[in-house]
């Protein structure tokens, strides 16, 4: 069942844009939460780790429940979005195949792509594009092809609570990814089947990309019998200082590029809203007087 159209509420659109414009070096992705008529009421930012998409599919359930409580309508994950920095807005064949996989779980699932950081050097014109699509089996062969779905950004004068929470979730996700990367560097995980090779297995580590020497690895068994954890305690202080500095540098970069501007925008929004509320209060008083005069 192809979707006729997608309504993307403007506050969810805001969250998607914030996320897409957060980095020009990598594609980011997230999920869209809404109702079966494909109204995306919220955008949920996901980790940039594309391989974990299926695991993270269940995480927005809390957001779905909260949105359902607030709106009084059943909410669920209705689509996914990702960014195409510096490249065309059209989905790649991988994107089309990924979309087809999602549609196997849910025929109404839609895909959104935001193309950003594009500039025509001659005319100094920047562009941000977005498109909506689904996948359909090609007539010939087993490949999939894209079908276009109309998408409309529906005005929403105020930013919903769930969208605001999604927006401030991004720095947390980035920090978590950085911590995971730092911890991953200091651990090397192998499956027990690989360790079953015994000493031979250990010696074979010499030929891996990591180029570890057997004598520098200390082994210990974790509580989980199916995995074995190797601790790289061999790094010299200079390397540890280097890695710590990389972590510090990356976190500083996140704070200055994401958290700082986010905080600035939030503070400006508070000021703007104060002004709007004052104007609305005056308007309300004026209208009450007018209504009283009419009566």
């Amino acid at each position: 069942m192809a979707v006729n159209a997608v309504h993307l509420e403007s506050d969810a659109f805001l969250v998607c844009m914030n996320h897409a414009l957060s980095t020009e070096k990598e594609e980011v992705m997230g999920l869209c939460i809404g109702e079966f008529r494909c109204i995306a009421c919220d955008a949920f930012c996901l980790s940039t780790n594309m391989s974990s998409i299926f695991t993270l599919y269940i995480i927005p359930l809390n957001t779905c429940h909260r949105l359902a409580e607030m709106t009084g309508r059943p909410m669920r994950v209705v689509g996914w979005y990702h960014s195409h920095p510096h490249i065309t807005v059209w989905p790649s064949h991988v994107d089309v195949r990924t979309q087809a996989m999602y549609q196997m779980m849910d025929q109404g699932f839609v895909g959104l792509i935001f193309s950003c950081f594009i500039e025509d050097k001659n005319t100094k014109t920047g562009r941000v594009l977005y498109t909506c699509f689904q996948s359909v089996q090609a007539q010939k062969g087993s490949e999939y092809e894209r079908i276009e779905i109309p998408v409309h950004v529906v005005p929403h004068e105020t930013i919903g609570k769930v969208c605001l929470e999604s927006a401030v979730e991004l720095p947390k996700i980035l920090c978590q990814e950085e911590q995971d990367a730092y911890r991953r560097i200091h651990r090397y995980i192998m499956t027990l089947s690989e360790m079953g090779k015994g000493v031979q297995g250990l010696k074979s580590l010499k030929t891996t990309a990591l180029e570890l020497s057997v004598s520098q690895i200390c082994l210990f068994y974790s509580a989980n019998v199916s995995t074995l954890e190797l601790c790289l305690a061999h790094l010299d202080p200079i390397t540890k200082i280097h890695n710590g500095s990389v972590f510090t540098k990356n976190l500083c970069s996140q704070m200055s590029a994401i958290s700082g501007p986010l905080l600035q925008w939030l503070e400006d929004k508070v000021e703007q809203n104060k002004q709007n509320i004052a104007e609305l209060q005056l308007e309300k008083e004026r209208l009450i007087l007018e209504l009283t005069d009419l009566d």
Binding site: T125, G160, I185, K269, N273
Partner: protein, 410 residues
């Protein structure tokens, strides 16, 4: 000159523009500073250049068009002062969002710009122009933006960058140390390097920066809570204002009805009442009728009232597939004026001017005024954007090819 705008400010601009049923404009707040750059070349030992850097920190959206100028483009200083208040000193430019227009300043915008330059006392005031275009089936949309420096004779267009995280990959981490058998090296780095680590062997800087990050995130959460509260309060006030406006409109129409009844002779009253009951439809139609006849300074009804969210699935499928887009020229889904455009712009002709100042009817060169007239045949085919002028982007075709008639596109 280099210019930058944060992703959050840019997204906020897009958000306000998306919420607007017509053109949208506002002011850009920020600062201009000079950066000194050094370069070394074969001909010179050192070469110093001064680069002007314009940073857009925030924007001040105008609630409606013509809020600080009139149809002739004359700027009203009092209104300008009222809109900007103490932010006036931070103004570095202004912006305009239009749909389906050329990436050039209109004549009125040029006139306004000259006056703003003089009134605000900013010699190099900039103008940021947004143009929004869509494919005929509304599946793909493009927002184009150009930053102008109209007060300069040359190099009037400036590149606008959006600073971002850049490379988030963690490839800079080292998984192994460089092999070194020098015992002096090992001794020195162990003794001196110990300063960097705490008693648990964790680098002190990591803990410190993490504390800074946590403190910042706590602040972000706290201010987010304030934003959320203010958004809900704004929502409440907006609903009350809308409700009052409806009540006033209803009361006015009732009074008008009473006045007409009192003027009609007794023997014709029954006929008059029967006629009016056929003209005035039940439900919201009475409000729509009164809304269309009331003072044009009233804001149009919310978008949600136009889309019948409680309608049946069948009618919903039809209406959502062909959602009226009052400003999408060339769109096959363009709605007839009686359905959508009249409600949004008040002009009844689908034009994008704000209805608060009455109908435009101007034939000036402001492309937004006559760009979006109803039933205007589009110059382009249904399957591509119109190629309006030099420097226009490539047309987007529904089959996915971004064919480019100019060499410099994507």
């Amino acid at each position: 000159m280099a210019a930058s705008i944060s992703g959050y400010t840019f997204s906020s601009l897009c958000y306000h523009s998306a919420n607007s049923n017509s053109d949208h404009e506002g002011f850009l707040l920020g600062e201009v500073r000079q950066e000194e750059t050094f370069s070394i070349s074969d001909s010179q030992i050192s070469s110093t250049e001064f680069l002007q850097v314009l940073e857009i920190h925030n924007h001040e959206p105008c609630s409606q068009l013509f809020s600080f100028y009139d149809y002739a483009g004359k700027v009203n200083e009092e209104n300008l002062k009222r809109i900007l208040k103490e932010r006036r000193k931070n103004v570095i430019g202004w912006y305009r969002f239009r749909r389906n227009t050329q990436e050039q300043m209109s004549f009125r915008e040029q006139i306004i710009h000259k006056q703003l330059t003089h009134i605000l006392g900013v010699p190099d005031l900039v103008f940021l122009l947004f143009s929004f275009i869509s494919t005929a089936n509304n599946s793909t949309h493009a927002l184009e933006y150009v930053l102008f420096r109209p007060n300069r004779k040359y190099n009037q267009r400036v590149s606008l960058t959006i600073p971002n995280l850049g490379n988030t990959s963690q490839q800079e981490y080292k998984v192994s140390s460089v092999p070194n058998t020098s015992w002096n090296y090992a001794m020195v780095i162990k003794e001196q390097g110990a300063e960097f680590f705490d008693k648990d062997g964790v680098m002190k800087d990591i803990r410190t920066i993490f504390q800074v990050y946590n403190a910042l995130q706590d602040k972000v959460q706290a201010v987010c809570g304030e934003v959320e509260q203010s958004e809900r309060l704004k929502e409440t006030f907006q609903e009350e204002v809308n409700k009052l406006k409806k009540q006033i409109a209803l009361r006015k129409s009732e009074k008008e009805e009473e006045r007409r009844l009192s003027q009609v002779p007794e023997e014709h009253k029954n006929t008059y009442l029967a006629y009016n009951s056929r003209v005035v439809c039940p439900g919201n139609a009475a409000e729509e009728y009164s809304l269309e006849n009331q003072d044009t300074s009233e804001t149009p009804p919310p978008y949600s009232e136009v889309i019948p969210l409680d309608s049946t699935a069948d009618s919903q499928e039809t209406s959502t597939a062909y959602l009226p887009r009052p400003q999408a020229v060339g769109s096959s889904n363009y709605a007839p004026p009686s359905l959508g455009a009249a409600k949004f712009s008040g002009n009844g002709d689908g034009s994008s001017t704000d209805s608060s100042q009455g109908t435009s009817g101007n034939d000036d060169e402001d492309s937004s005024e006559y760009e979006n007239l109803a039933n205007e045949p589009s110059e382009s085919s249904d399957s591509e954007f119109s190629q309006l002028a030099e420097g226009r982007p490539a047309s987007l075709r529904p089959d996915g090819d971004s064919r480019n008639s100019q060499a410099s596109r994507i």
